[in-house]
C-alpha cells in the first residue's frame, strides 16, 4: 500500500500544507511537491478537493485525502515508521484536542490581532496570549510535545514556531513573551532546529513580505473575522 506514488498539492506560504510535508519527511516518504496558486485555482485542485477547494491535498496513488489533520492521521496509519500519534487512546485524544485548540484559538486570534486595530487588536491579543498560556502548561518539562521525539502534536503545532514570530513582526506586537512563556519558547527552538524541520522551512523574507500583503488586504474588512474570537 505504501509503495504507490505520493503527491502533495501545496501552497508555499500555507502552514497547513507544510505540516503534511513535515510528516512525510519525518517518515522518510518520497513525494512530489505540486505548487498550487490558491488565488488562481487550477482544475486539478478543484477536481481533487471539490468540497473545500483548498490545499493541502495528499494524493496517494489515485486517492485524494484532504484536511491537514485528517491527512496527518492517514500518513501515520499508512506509513508505520516513526509513529506520530501515541498508541494509548487517552493520549491520542489529548493530542487531537490540543491540535484543534491551537488551530481554532491561537491561530485565528494571532492572525486577527495582526490585521485588526485599536481595542479589537487588544481583544485578539488577550485571546492569543491566554491560548499560549494553556499550551505552555502542556509543554512544560518536555523537549517536544511527543516526549523525546517529535510527534503528532509537534507537527500540528509547529506552525507556531514559524508563523507567530512573523505575525509579531508584521503586526508590531508580542504574543510569545519569552519571560512569560519560557517552555514554549524552548520548544520552538528545539522544533526549528530539528534536522528534518530545519531543512523544510519557507524563506523568511518572502514570508514576511507575503504576510504584509495579506495584512494590507485583510485589514479593511477585519471586522468580519472578530466572530472567530
Amino acid at each position: 500500500m505504501g509503495s504507490e506514488d505520493v503527491k502533495v498539492l501545496c501552497f508555499w506560504a500555507s502552514p497547513f500544507s507544510l505540516r503534511v510535508e513535515w510528516a512525510l519527511k519525518l517518515k522518510g516518504v518520497e513525494y512530489e511537491y505540486i505548487e498550487e496558486d490558491i488565488y488562481n485555482k487550477n482544475t486539478l485542485l478543484l477536481e481533487l478537493n471539490p468540497i473545500h477547494k483548498k490545499v493541502p491535498v495528499l494524493v496517494h496513488g489515485s486517492k485524494p485525502i484532504v484536511e491537514s489533520f485528517v491527512i496527518l492521521e492517514y500518513i501515520d496509519e499508512t506509513w508505520k515508521q516513526h509513529p506520530l500519534l501515541p498508541q494509548d487512546p487517552y493520549q491520542r485524544a489529548h493530542a487531537r484536542f490540543w491540535a484543534n485548540f491551537a488551530e481554532h484559538k491561537l491561530l485565528y486570534a494571532s492572525f486577527i490581532a495582526m490585521v485588526a486595530s485599536g481595542d479589537d487588536t487588544e481583544k485578539a491579543l488577550n485571546v492569543a496570549r491566554d491560548s499560549v498560556e494553556k499550551i505552555e502548561q502542556e509543554i512544560k518539562g518536555k523537549k517536544f510535545f511527543g516526549g523525546d521525539n517529535i510527534g503528532y502534536l509537534d507537527i500540528a503545532l509547529g506552525w507556531i514556531s514559524y508563523w507567530i514570530p512573523v505575525y509579531e513582526e508584521v503586526g508590531s506586537m508580542q504574543i510569545l513573551d519569552p519571560l512569560r512563556f519560557p517552555a514554549i519558547n524552548a520548544w520552538m527552538t528545539n522544533f526549528l532546529n530539528h534536522p528534518v524541520i530545519k531543512d523544510r522551512l519557507p524563506p523568511r523574507d518572502d514570508m514576511v513580505a507575503y504576510i504584509h500583503t495579506r495584512k494590507k488586504i485583510m485589514s479593511p474588512t477585519y471586522h468580519d473575522l472578530m466572530k472567530y474570537l
Partner: protein, 219 residues
C-alpha cells in the same frame, strides 16, 4: 476493574447526542449528568477548564473533550464491539473528512436557526439543502454511511435529523420529497434502539427552537 464512565451532557446538544449514540452502540454503561450551562458545575469546570463546554466524557476520572474526539476514543477503547471507524486508512480519512464537514454544518445550521429572522432563513435553508445534497451523494445506495452497519460518519451526522422537522417548517420544504435517500437513512437509523433512545424526537427539538427564537427576539 469496573469502568467508571460519566458523561457531562445537555439533552438538546447535537455534540452530546453523538456521544450518547456511540456509548449506546457500544453498550457502555454510563452515568449521564445533565449540565445547566448557565450555572456550570464544578465538575465541568474542572474536567474541561479550557472550553468549559459539554460533552465531556470522564473515563475512570480522566476527561476527554470535543465530540468527535470522544467518539473516536470510545471506538478505540470499547473495541470488542463492532468498530465505528473502518480499518482501511483511506476509508477512515474519508469518514473523518465528512465528519469534519458535518461539524461545520451543525454549527452553521444551529446558528442560523437561532439568530435569523424568518425572512433571512431563505439563504440559510438554501445552504442547508446544498449540504444535504452533498451528504446524499455520499450515502448513495448504501444503507448507512458506514456501509452495512452504522459507522463513525452516521454517528457524526445523526444529530442533524433531530432538526429535520424544524428545518422543514422554517424552510417550507419536505425532506422526504427532496432527499428521499437521506429520509430513508434517518428512518432506518431510528429503528435502532441505540439511536432512538439517545436523541430527542423532532417535535421536542422544534418546540425548543421556537422557544429559543422567541428568547433571542427573532420570532
Amino acid at each position: 476493574m469496573a469502568d467508571e464512565v460519566v458523561l457531562l451532557d445537555r439533552w438538546p446538544s447535537p455534540y452530546c447526542m453523538r456521544v450518547r449514540i456511540a456509548l449506546a452502540l457500544k453498550g457502555v454503561i454510563c452515568e449521564i449528568k445533565d449540565e445547566d450551562l448557565s450555572n456550570k458545575s464544578t465538575l465541568l469546570l474542572q474536567m474541561n477548564p479550557v472550553h468549559k463546554k459539554v460533552p465531556v466524557l470522564i473515563h475512570n476520572g480522566k476527561p476527554i473533550c470535543e465530540s468527535l474526539i470522544i467518539v473516536e476514543y470510545i471506538d478505540q477503547v470499547w473495541n470488542e464491539k463492532p468498530p465505528l471507524l473502518p480499518s482501511d486508512p483511506y476509508q477512515r480519512a474519508h469518514a473523518k473528512f465528512w465528519a469534519d464537514f458535518s461539524d461545520k454544518m451543525v454549527c452553521l445550521y444551529s446558528m442560523s436557526l437561532l439568530t435569523s429572522k424568518r425572512e433571512e432563513l431563505e439563504v440559510a435553508t438554501k445552504e442547508f439543502k446544498e449540504n444535504l445534497k452533498l451528504l446524499e451523494e455520499q450515502l448513495g445506495d448504501k444503507h448507512y454511511f458506514g456501509g452495512e452497519e452504522l459507522g463513525f460518519l452516521d454517528v457524526a451526522l445523526l444529530p442533524i435529523i433531530t432538526g429535520f422537522k424544524t428545518r422543514e417548517i422554517y424552510g417550507k420544504f419536505k425532506i422526504e420529497d427532496e432527499f428521499s435517500k437521506l429520509f430513508a437513512w434517518a428512518n432506518r437509523c431510528l429503528q435502532k434502539e441505540s439511536v432512538s433512545k439517545s436523541i430527542p424526537d423532532q417535535e421536542k427539538m422544534y418546540g425548543l427552537i421556537v422557544e429559543m427564537r422567541k428568547k433571542f427576539g427573532v420570532e
